[in-house]
């Protein structure tokens, strides 16, 4: 029995390692595909050459045998977009998993505290005022944080069950900001502003520049990394406050850290890509089916699935029709059936 018990950890880790390796390879494959598929079709092999040339640039080992325009297509257009989609997908998935654990509810998503609704209002104000992309992103990010700060302040007023009050406050703040968004849409110029507003509301990676990625990627990466570091404690937080306190967890601090990180991630994601539905809700469920509910395994797996999924969706969005389809339309079309299947199969995965 003793030797069998000892084998428990390595054996399980090996299984998760192999699942994550497969998911990592999948992510790389989709990443590669995202660079060669598109209106300007590029030979997959050439894409590999272009990437290798860039990595080994100081050594001049790779002959520049392709037209210079391909460098522009890859590095100015597709690479930033691809990178943004991966980071946003990973970020939304991790935030969703974190919020589901923290609020002990598998049906909440990253928008539960009003961050998406707030960020949408910020972006809408920027668009209405006719500002440039950087100001719009800044306003969006700021309003996302503001909404969650409001949610927090409201929840502080009531002394009852903190988790429940927080969620209820989030719903209230969310609908307040949704109303403001609706008002802005109502008054916006239907020809010059409305289409932009609608695209923001449904998400798009179409406008992303390399600068956007430089500005946003650090926020997303820091948020994801911080959640990764405390991920095992999410298990304990998900057992309820009383048990977590009895197990020596400073629940107040941990909950604030976790919510802050997830909020930063979501606000940054909405700021560059608009509001994208379903990813934060379904990716954690797919993750649980693969590696179980332990957040120690769930978060890394969610990052990998979230990145691949978002990128796959973006490839669909920019390739199936002549004009771009908003991201949320595709995530919902794919998300709904996946969710129904999970609901049927995963009855034992959550109770």
């Amino acid at each position: 029995m003793r030797s069998a018990a000892h084998a428990t950890k390595p054996k399980k880790d090996l299984k998760n390692l192999s699942i994550n390796s497969i998911l990592a390879v999948l992510l790389l494959a989709v990443f590669w595909m995202s660079l060669f598929v598109g209106r300007y079709s590029i030979d997959p092999y050439t894409v590999l050459l272009i990437i290798t040339a860039q990595i080994l640039a100081p050594f001049h080992l790779v002959q520049h045998t392709w037209p210079a325009v391909l460098d522009t297509v890859i590095w100015q257009v597709r690479f930033p977009r691809t990178l943004a989609a991966v980071l946003v997908g990973a970020g939304l998935a991790v935030s969703g998993a974190t919020f589901q654990g923290t609020f002990r509810n598998p049906l909440v998503s990253e928008s539960i505290l009003g961050v998406s609704a707030g960020a949408l209002v910020g972006a809408s104000i920027g668009i209405l005022l006719g500002r440039g992309p950087f100001t719009i992103q800044l306003l969006s990010f700021g309003f996302g944080i503001l909404a969650v700060a409001m949610t927090f302040s409201i929840s502080r007023v009531y002394k009852a069950n903190p988790t429940l009050v927080l969620v209820l406050a989030g719903i209230v703040v969310g609908s307040l900001f949704s109303a403001i968004s609706a008002l802005i849409k109502y008054v916006a110029d239907p020809y010059s502003k409305l289409p932009d507003l609608v695209f923001w509301q449904m998400g798009s990676f179409g406008q992303i520049s390399l600068t956007d990625v430089y500005v946003t990627a650090p926020i997303l990466l820091i948020g994801i990394a911080a959640l990764m570091l405390v991920r095992w404690r999410l298990n304990i937080l998900s057992m309820g406050d009383e048990e977590a306190v009895a197990l020596g967890i400073d629940t107040k601090t941990l909950r604030i850290v976790v919510i802050l990180c997830a909020t930063l991630i979501t606000a940054a994601a909405v700021a560059i890509s608009g509001v994208i539905a379903w990813v934060g809700l379904i990716i954690p469920h797919i993750g649980r089916m693969l590696v179980g509910p332990d957040h120690k395994k769930l978060l890394p797996t969610s990052v990998l699935i979230g990145g691949s999924f978002m990128l796959g969706v973006d490839i669909i969005c920019r390739n199936v029709t002549t004009s771009e389809i908003p991201v949320s339309i595709v995530t919902s079309l794919i998300g709904v059936p996946i969710f129904l299947i999970l609901l049927k199969r995963g009855k034992e995965s959550w109770s």
Partner: protein, 269 residues
């Protein structure tokens, strides 16, 4: 293991600051002792246990471990001294039994750590002590109430505290598991742990408790040795029904507490 003496002085608690749940509770538990709290439903036994591990903060009085007030201890430090088993509930996510037991290691790990090989070994040892290896990989959410209680017992052992607070540890168990749990309580006390146990079975106090406190109308109506405290008179007063205590000899040598059935028409108002 360090000696752990738990001292409670004039403890008073209320949720709203005006209507106390209990007041002026005093007792002490020495190393290796089991203190059992008896009393009718709703008298605040569970609330008292929650105060002992600082989930609720006292409104008055003090709780000290080896002379140190618990309100001065950091949460993780306190959890290394005091372990608490709440009454069971089904969590949202179906963690395996091993994953739940591993959570007991939390106070020994820093904020960003995940359990190490050593933590796994301690968790598996705890699972072995409680004798639940056969359900180690099962989802915790699919267990029966009794099994869950055993898993939580394993978790608190993995926590390695000096003082253990058990909230009705036998309430959901069959008679076999009740006796096994009582044997575990005895063993832990012999190993040097101090235990505070709430129970609805005055019988069981004779089996594991060194001292008993009877909680009624917000305070202890009686504390002291089990033999002198668990008496027909005290129990009758506490539970409001006629209680007899009979001694069973014949090689069993046990005291049994027998509550008498009163016709509904004779219930006191």
């Amino acid at each position: 293991m360090i000696s752990a003496k738990l001292e409670v002085d004039n403890a008073t608690f209320s949720y709203d600051g005006s209507t106390p749940i209990f007041e002026d509770i005093s007792f002490e538990v020495n190393k290796g002792e089991v203190f059992c709290i008896l009393g009718p439903n709703g008298t605040g036994k569970s609330t008292l246990l929650r105060c002992l591990c600082n989930i609720h903060k006292l409104r008055g009085g003090s709780i000290r471990i080896d002379g140190q007030d618990i309100s001065a201890l950091k949460p993780a430090h306190l959890a290394r001294r005091i372990g608490f088993i709440p009454q069971i509930h089904t969590p949202t996510f179906p963690y395996t039994v091993l994953e739940v037991v591993l959570m007991g290691r939390a106070p020994h790990l820093n904020m960003i750590a995940t359990p190490s090989e050593k933590d796994y070994r301690i968790a598996e040892q705890a699972i072995k002590t409680i004798n639940i290896e056969h359900i180690m990989d099962k989802p915790y959410t699919q267990l029966s109430g009794g099994q869950m209680q055993l898993v939580l017992l394993a978790r608190v052992l993995a926590q390695e505290p000096d003082i253990l607070l058990l909230d009705e540890p036998t309430s959901q168990l069959d008679i076999g598991n009740q006796m096994r749990t009582i044997a575990i309580i005895r063993k832990l006390a012999n190993d040097g742990l101090s235990l505070v146990v709430t129970s609805h079975f005055p019988d069981h106090a004779f089996l594991y408790a060194d001292k008993v406190g009877i909680l009624k109308d917000k305070t202890f109506i009686k504390t002291g040795d089990t033999e002198t405290t668990v008496t027909e008179k005290n129990l009758t007063r506490a539970y409001g029904v006629d209680v007899r205590i009979i001694h069973v000899g014949d090689g069993i040598n046990r005291k049994l507490v027998v509550p008498m059935v009163t016709p509904i028409s004779e219930f006191p108002e």
